[in-house]
């Protein structure tokens, strides 16, 4: 999570109720895997729910690695923003957004 290599810096807004599904193979890279895990077991998730889940998982990962130093509530908005960027980067390749989902 420290060296994000593929995300969209300023993603275009996506409607909160947009259905999202995973369409590609299980990913090898860590951040994509977090999204894949968030979607695992669910045929489709609403975009807002997915972002919330991914943000929470990213936060938990940092918390596991760095302990209390990462547990500063002030920075929590970062993880949701980062989740939106990762999802935007995966959209169209490994994620399907919209009615087809």
């Amino acid at each position: 999570m420290l060296r994000p290599s593929s995300f969209v810096s300023n993603p275009a807004p996506i409607a909160a109720d947009t259905p999202v599904t995973w369409t590609g193979d299980p990913p090898a890279d860590e951040e994509a895997r977090v999204v894949w895990e968030a979607l695992a077991g669910a045929p489709a998730l609403r975009y807002a729910v997915l972002v919330e889940r991914v943000g929470e998982r990213l936060f938990r990962l940092d918390l596991e690695r760095f302990g209390v130093s990462a547990d500063v509530g002030f920075f929590r908005p970062f993880y949701d923003a980062h989740a939106r960027r990762i999802v935007a980067a995966l959209a169209g390749t490994r994620l399907s957004l919209g009615d087809r989902a």
């Binding site: 995300f7 810096s9 908005p77 949701d80 923003a81």
Partner: protein, 282 residues
């Protein structure tokens, strides 16, 4: 590199950048952005977010020490902070409208210009102030400090206050747009435009940088560009480096300081122009 080793490397690098930033009055952030992106592979937006936090840390650490030595002029700093904070807020608002490459090019050209003026003044230990600005008299923009290198008290008074105020607005604008403390421009305005002694300029600049950066940081925080595990080691490292840098600064002569300052500005100018022209990445 493991995540812990990565954080440790970030911390060590930030100590060095913080030391340099405090000595030069740059705030360290503008040094850290290229280092984080080029050598650590951190995304530019997160590098800028960490930079803006580190700038606050540098300013807080160094300014506290400068205040004890009377090098920082709080009155002048707070007066000019009106301009820098306004500029920073406007700059942050405009960041999504003006193409970043245009801004980088403008910044590079402006820095190149400041290099020329610094070369001209290379032999000037203390500025010769012959003008009396009514605004400086009205607002009491003057002071005295003991210069250990010259072994005497140095009295000074600001000149060309309106021009300095405008230059500070521009410095704040760049801070908001690029996520930097824009210390180079603050020093330029204080030293070259307002004719304050270099040591007072760098110390007051350090004091002001944090105030300006705090305004910009709110925008970066709101966008989610401040990664805690990048910003935290960077801020702590820079704070430690700034403390060491401040001790060094008190023992250097102004000409020595400017000689150190010159290659830094040159490097920044060339890299900014290259980026603006699309030659050095985004």
């Amino acid at each position: 590199m493991s995540p812990l080793a990565f954080v440790a490397a970030l911390f060590a690098t930030s100590v060095a950048a913080g030391g340099a930033g405090a000595v030069l009055g740059l705030g360290g952030g503008i040094l850290l952005i290229p280092i984080l992106t080029l050598f650590f592979g951190v995304d530019l937006h997160y590098a800028m977010g960490a930079s803006i936090v580190s700038v606050i840390a540098t300013s807080s650490g160094a300014a506290a020490a400068y205040l004890r030595t009377s090098l920082s002029n709080v009155r002048i700093g707070l007066f000019l902070a009106l301009a820098t904070v306004s500029g920073a807020l406007l700059g942050a608002g405009l960041a999504g409208v003006v193409p970043i490459r245009v801004l980088q090019l403008l910044l590079g050209l402006a820095l190149a210009y400041s290099t020329v003026t610094t070369l001209r003044q290379l032999r000037v230990e203390l500025p010769e102030t012959t003008e009396t600005d009514p605004l400086a008299l009205r607002f009491g923009l003057e002071g005295t400090y003991y210069d250990a290198a010259l072994d005497r008290d140095v009295k000074y008074r600001a000149t060309r206050v309106a021009q300095g105020f405008s230059a500070m607005f521009g410095a704040g604008l760049l801070s908001g747009l690029l996520g930097i403390g824009s210390g180079a421009f603050k020093v330029l305005a204080l030293d070259y435009v307002m004719r304050l002694p270099m040591k007072v300029s760098t110390a007051t600049s350090n004091f002001m940088i944090g105030i300006t950066a705090a305004a910009s940081a709110a925008v970066y925080f709101g966008r989610g560009d401040i990664h805690p595990l990048i910003a935290a080691p960077v801020a702590l490292g820079v704070l430690l480096g700034a403390s060491v840098g401040t001790v060094l600064m008190g023992r250097l002569r102004n000409t020595t300081l400017r000689m150190l300052f010159l290659p830094v500005i040159l490097y920044l100018a060339v890299s900014m122009i290259a980026r603006g022209l699309g030659l050095g990445g985004s």
